[in-house]
């Protein structure tokens, strides 16, 4: 019997999975550079912790909740159908790629979505509580929402309601990843409250080159995220790839221009943030808009997100690293923009309002976006509050001031040299022998 397996598609999906995996360490650098030096390790560890925990949960039951047969209403996949990926190791000659390649690809999406949330609660969350939150949030929020958005009906399988009933377009996760993480970030920032000194003390990024490096790695990985979502190495992947270049480029320009006009300077943090804003916004739309419309979409994302990051000062919530301003706002814009800028000439094949498609696609996009936003916000607020009231989520104030790296990990990110890093010696080692001329009893020193 002939096998339908396409090695080119398989290779691209596996490569894309590796690219998307790299986004989480990239995010760790992006976020790590943005916090103060005393919090860099914890900031990075929140990403790495998500990587570790969600990787395990995905294999145990995450994949099954997201892509198992629907248990009703398009809301949830059967958690037990593929528990531990059982029965999935055999070769399926009827599919163009092995299902395990798809498992890997979707798993790294789950990981980065959870890691994204951590930017909203920099400097002040107990690490253990963060891991508990990450596991519960992935279980109750991400896995079901991934089912809504990414699980398409098959021959003998029923998928999620957004993908199959609402028919909102979300190619690579504008709703499931970015709106989802952004709404969760907002809820968690409200549950945990502001950092001590927020709005008064300078909380300058301690290492902007790290931020730039992280943004570069995110962009690199994002090609897997967007073009990989074609699940084939063909035209759709190529279109998504080009749009991922051009929307991001335009968003950088949009953000920098906004800064130049508003603040008088175009900044490196603005450039890095603009790139991420553009990537977020093009994510749902990268197979649905022409490259020229991707420029428009990206440029608007850059301007919009650059303005949105100022909201937290006006409204008084401490979304530390602008998960709301970049991911929620960028995700909302990109998702809804499909309804305006979509074109039937693209692989998605749907005209938006500006291309004669009326409001049919637009309302679907809005409903999908609002549904994910609402669900994620409410559930996150409940999960966060329960953790805060039981095991405690927020770090002790003194520890926060002294630095979360010391308190939670017993490490410091940087050795500044003897004086400022406190000197000291290996615990348990004898004190330095004193000079023989000052101590009569020392036998260790030869005069």
């Amino acid at each position: 019997m002939d096998s339908a397996l396409n090695s080119g598609d398989t290779a691209w999906i596996l490569t894309s999975a590796a690219l998307v995996l790299l986004m989480t360490p990239g995010l760790a650098l992006f976020y790590g550079g943005m916090v103060r030096a005393k919090s860099v390790l914890n900031m990075m560890m929140m990403s790495f912790g998500a990587l570790a925990l969600i990787g395990v949960l995905w294999v145990l039951y995450g994949y099954s909740i997201a892509f198992g047969n629907d248990v009703g209403g398009g809301l949830l996949g059967n958690p037990f159908e593929y528990f531990g990926l059982s029965g999935m190791l055999g070769e399926d000659t009827s599919a163009p790629y092995p299902v395990m390649a798809f498992v890997a690809f979707q798993g790294v999406f789950a990981i980065i979505t959870v890691a994204l949330i951590s930017g909203a609660i920099a400097d002040r969350a107990k690490f253990g509580a963060w891991l508990v939150f990450a596991g519960v949030w992935a279980t109750l929020v991400y896995f079901p929402v991934a089912h809504w958005v990414f699980a398409f009906d098959g021959d003998d399988v029923v998928g999620g309601w957004i993908a199959n009933n609402l028919l909102a377009l979300d190619f690579a996760g504008g709703t499931a990843v970015h709106i989802n993480a952004g709404a969760a970030g907002l809820a968690l920032a409200l549950v945990l409250g502001k950092r001590k000194g927020f709005g008064r003390d300078p909380m300058r990024p301690h290492n902007l080159p790290l931020v730039m490096l992280g943004a570069g790695l995110l962009w690199f990985g994002w090609f897997g995220f967007n073009a990989g979502s074609a699940l084939s190495a063909g035209n759709t992947a190529a279109v998504a790839f080009v749009n991922t270049i051009v929307a991001t480029s335009a968003a950088i320009l949009g953000w920098l221009l906004t800064e130049k006009v508003r603040d008088g300077h175009a900044t490196s943090l603005g450039g890095a943030s603009g790139a991420v804003a553009g990537l977020v916004a093009i994510t749902p739309a990268c197979n649905a808009v022409s490259p020229v419309m991707a420029i428009v979409l990206g440029a608007v994302a850059g301007v919009l997100c650059a303005l949105a990051v100022g909201l937290k000062y006006k409204l008084g919530y401490d979304d530390s690293l602008d998960v709301v301003g970049v991911h929620l706002v960028g995700g909302l814009w990109g998702t809804i923009a499909i309804g305006f800028l979509g074109s039937a000439t693209t692989p998605a094949g749907v005209d938006g309002l500006f291309f004669g498609g009326g409001v049919d696609q637009l309302w679907r996009q809005v409903v999908g976006a609002v549904a994910v936003l609402g669900y994620s916000f409410v559930l996150t607020w409940v999960i966060g509050t329960v953790i805060q009231k039981t095991m405690g989520f927020r770090l002790d104030q003194d520890d926060e001031v002294a630095g979360i790296d010391q308190a939670e990990h017993a490490e410091s990110g940087y050795d500044w040299g003897t004086l400022t890093s406190g000197g000291g010696r290996v615990a348990g080692s004898p004190a330095r022998p004193t000079d023989a001329r000052h101590s009569s009893g020392s036998s260790e020193v030869s005069a």
């Binding site: 300078p202 300058r204 990024p205 800064e259 508003r262 603040d263 008088g264 300077h265 900044t267 943090l269 603005g270 943030s273 650059a306 990051v309 100022g310 000062y313 602008d322 301003g325």
Partner: protein, 112 residues
């Protein structure tokens, strides 16, 4: 003996060092410092949030001299550190009771 302390712009350090060397000063101590005078600091912007950075990086130069040299050394430092622009710094002089050279145990002007 006197201790002369100068707070200068970091990029003027080489000029001050060369000038003191030319005058015949044998040794000096340099440390990084920060502070502000009338010029205050500067403003930085991160994602639209403005921070006033109060403390300006400076270099502190300390020289121990004999009483007779104090006035001239201050002049040398002032002349070599001057740019004429705001933030050039300050130089001050304090009396010193005693100085000891650690290696030999010499005291007073011999230790300079």
């Amino acid at each position: 003996m006197k201790l002369i302390t100068a707070i200068i712009k970091p990029h003027k350090l080489d000029d001050v060092k060369s000038a003191l060397e030319a005058y015949g000063i044998q040794g000096l101590t340099i440390s990084e410092s920060s502070g502000y005078g009338r010029q205050r600091g500067h403003t930085e912007v991160y994602r639209g949030a403005e921070y006033t950075v109060d403390l300006v990086p400076k270099v502190r130069v300390e020289v121990l001299v004999d009483d007779v040299d104090a006035h001239d050394v201050v002049e040398v430092v002032v002349k070599s550190a001057q740019t004429g622009r705001i933030g050039d710094g300050k130089v001050w002089t304090q009396p010193v009771d005693d100085v000891v050279r650690v290696r030999t145990g010499e005291h007073g002007p011999d230790a300079l």
